[in-house]
Symmetry: D2
Subunit: 286 residues, 4 copies
């Protein structure tokens, strides 16, 4: 069997952009980490080092900065669409572009003063090909905890099972979620705020018998409240809080004192989707 | 459109196992980080919190430790197969298991003394379903550098291109590679050593006109030398080494003094495959 | 010259504690990372492995959890004092205890629901010896940025200087600060909130000609507004924002488009202190 | 009490330098991460923003690169001395310079091909003032493990002690050590290799009743074998390997199956020194 080149892509990862825009003395800040990957007719450079079709990754970086000046940076989804379309439209050998953006939030402290927020990272993943456009938004690092209203029991037991059934436990997770939009036009800021609020409220309001149940509840709440979305993918680590055994010290522990564990951790992953929705045109999670 | 549960899985991530085996006074060490994900008939727990089918992730962790004692830990691929098959075969509601392993190497210093090697991490990714078995091996964090024998020119220039053509540059990367085996039986240790040597030698021996060319060379060398492999996927960050401008100090810089950059970096990704090979039965990269 | 044992200490580092306290249905959360180091008559274990004086580090961990139950966890400074005093008072061979605490903040979302805040980490460093008690509070990871009102010029130039003078630049830093209290009694929560507000306001309000000037302004503001403090130590990385050269693209860059750099970075460190204050009784920074 | 400026310093941290030197077709590689901090008459910039004495940190970075060309980079200690002396001697307002270097090792694969070693990082810390010169070398991240020949018992028990006595346990640590030289002239490469070998051999050969005993043994071995050294400081995390309880699975665990723990961990710190040696002229650990 011959050995051949399969799927491939290339680009510039993690271009760090800070864009200041000025409204008189009042400044606004956009802070992004942008990764670009292009695919298309790229066999020649692999086979012979012929770089005729290889727009330098350095140029992708320059384009980010130049576009930031020319077009400004409004929402990450919009800026990603602008960039992805540019490469597909201007480079004939490029058939598809993927732009992944992390957006870091800053809180205003004054007309030109800011404090970086660390509560979570907003993400956007844009795929533009010659025939399709796909927009995915997301969030990572949103850590939520319920100190009660969570149980876990009724599970099967095999010879390696020692876990006790729990009728009251801490449930905590670091939400990593991506949601796919039905179209490439939306009020991105409102959509992100709404989806994030729905995720958070569903976590808070679900009396949980498993993190899986909470996951489905969170995903469902997002799709119910955001008609512009097709589907959502959640990866929820179960950040275990182990109840400390205080019996040796003649102390009771009524779900009050916990070890916050590092590893291992449960990991619950699932997609919630609208039935009959058009399939994704490009990989959008993992 | 109704809102429904889509693809999902769950498991225990990052169970840290150290297994000592004793051959008289001479000890041997296996040091693994093991992540398990199961999928199958798991709708009930999502919909109602009915955990009848949810083998606890704590049990998966216990199984890792019990199996380490019962079966020993030889090669990570073999240990992963054992674990993955166990869950699919023993839990009727589980239709597929994915086991991802990181293996950390230790150098012997004495009969029971060891020093951890930090040059790279060996990986294994095992997918067992009711109808298919797939074994993927890999490496991450292998950092290679050629201080010459690398050029980059002949690329297209658009209005955002400022990069100068290079006829002599440093080429450096941190190899992240996964390769899929044709079967679930192999001499895993020999296969890993051979594939790693092929990757390294191809990097060293390729006079490079682009990192893409080096990538194809590396992948091809692995498949040529390892008939047991179906395909290989490489993700090669271009760890840029920027030539420092010493002209302001009246000094020449004949490719001698470099800034080792952090971000941004180029990222070259590609698959090299045998033609007509059977397709993968499960996701195996990304 | 004989070879002898010099200064030494030992302890348990990074015990992770989450303490839930319940006020009816309303829960409260404390989330701490606690490191303990004891010193005293510990020569025997070094010299011969005689552990008569070596209270196990495992016991220190247990003590953290038991004390959390017995005494609750109010402010990190108070909890650290409790722990440090316990070891010095209960173990005759222990002459001094150092307790370092990181406290992670959570925002309330409901009676028993919380979201972790990621804006900064609050720290406390407690040193108790048989003759002295010292309390240091602090903050790390507080990232602040002024998009104007910062200049840097008038610096000396040697043959290796190429930096241009700047009359308008971005000034950004990640505040790492520790401040020493005059006594071991204070309203710790109010003191922390006040010191943090003073740091932030001074950064915002200082028209800056150097990050050093901003540092002194920040430290002075803290001491002026918090009479309970003796001195403060600040380590301020200069998180460089490099102005992008857009001239090749026929674009102006009026301090609008920046590269957020990773490495290298300036690092400005300084202490601001009250004159004639009693010296520290133990190492409290670095 | 007046509020005044206390000790302070500033500099450029983490300048990343890769230096290629060419011996015909055979290339050599030095890979360093260099941090510089200067102190002296720096009050003016703090008080008024008068930067007359503030050599830019950008200049420090340039100096690193220019010196790498002019002088080459032999051993990190020598390069650090060169840099530190330069700033103290050429800038009258600078009274002391501290240069901290991390050196990353590469293994040769060919005349101009290299693989980065990840087993440990070599460090150097140089302090030059107008009256004193101090050289400290070190190592970090050297992970060592004995799978037997370690016990821990005979410790005191208080009401919070639950730890069982161990007559056979795994002992593992990640060595973080710094050692101070008696003079500023040495065969730095030989000294580093010898000290590292002594550390490793002492760890391997010590039958240990406590990690403290191992620490003293390691430090003593270094000073015994390296007459050029004044003292050594070791920080040894006790990387706990917890024996898994396999009794629920009717399996014995004869020190064969372990959990490699993350947090918490013991931390043993100590200095070993020659008696009557001249004291350090600058802070050299922590």
């Amino acid at each position: 069997m011959a050995i051949v080149l399969g799927p491939n892509r290339y680009g510039k990862a993690e271009t760090r952009l800070v864009r200041v825009s000025k409204d008189g003395d009042t400044h606004h800040l956009a802070d992004l980490n942008i990764s670009i990957a292009l695919s298309g007719d790229l066999a020649a450079t692999h086979l012979t080092g012929d770089n005729t079709g290889v727009l330098p990754t350095d140029t992708m970086k320059n384009t980010v900065y130049a576009f930031a000046k020319e077009h400004g940076v409004a929402e990450p989804e919009a800026f990603g669409l602008l960039l992805a379309r540019h490469f597909v439209e201007s480079q004939p050998q490029v058939h598809a572009a993927k732009v992944a953006i992390e957006a870091f939030a800053w809180e205003r402290l004054g007309p030109h003063s800011f404090q970086r927020k660390g509560d979570f990272t907003r993400t956007a993943l844009i795929d533009v090909s010659e025939t399709a456009v796909q927009v995915v938004s997301g969030i990572s690092g949103l850590v939520l905890l319920n100190s009660t209203a969570s149980e876990f029991h009724g599970f099967p037991r095999d010879k390696y099972t020692t876990l006790k059934e729990a009728t009251d436990r801490v449930l905590a997770t670091a939400v990593d979620a991506k949601w796919r939009h039905l179209s490439d036009k939306s009020d991105w800021a409102d959509s992100f705020a709404g989806a994030t609020a729905a995720l958070t409220q569903a976590f808070v309001n679900t009396y949980s018998y498993s993190l899986q149940q909470t996951l489905l509840s969170m995903g469902t709440r997002v799709l119910e409240s955001r008609p512009e979305l097709a589907e959502i993918r959640l990866a929820l680590p179960n950040k275990h809080h182990y109840l400390v055994d205080l019996v040796p010290f003649d102390l009771e522990n009524d779900n009050e004192v916990f070890i916050a564990g590092d590893r291992p951790y449960g990991l619950i992953e699932g997609t919630v989707t609208r039935e009959d929705v058009a399939p994704a045109s490009a990989e959008w999670y993992l």
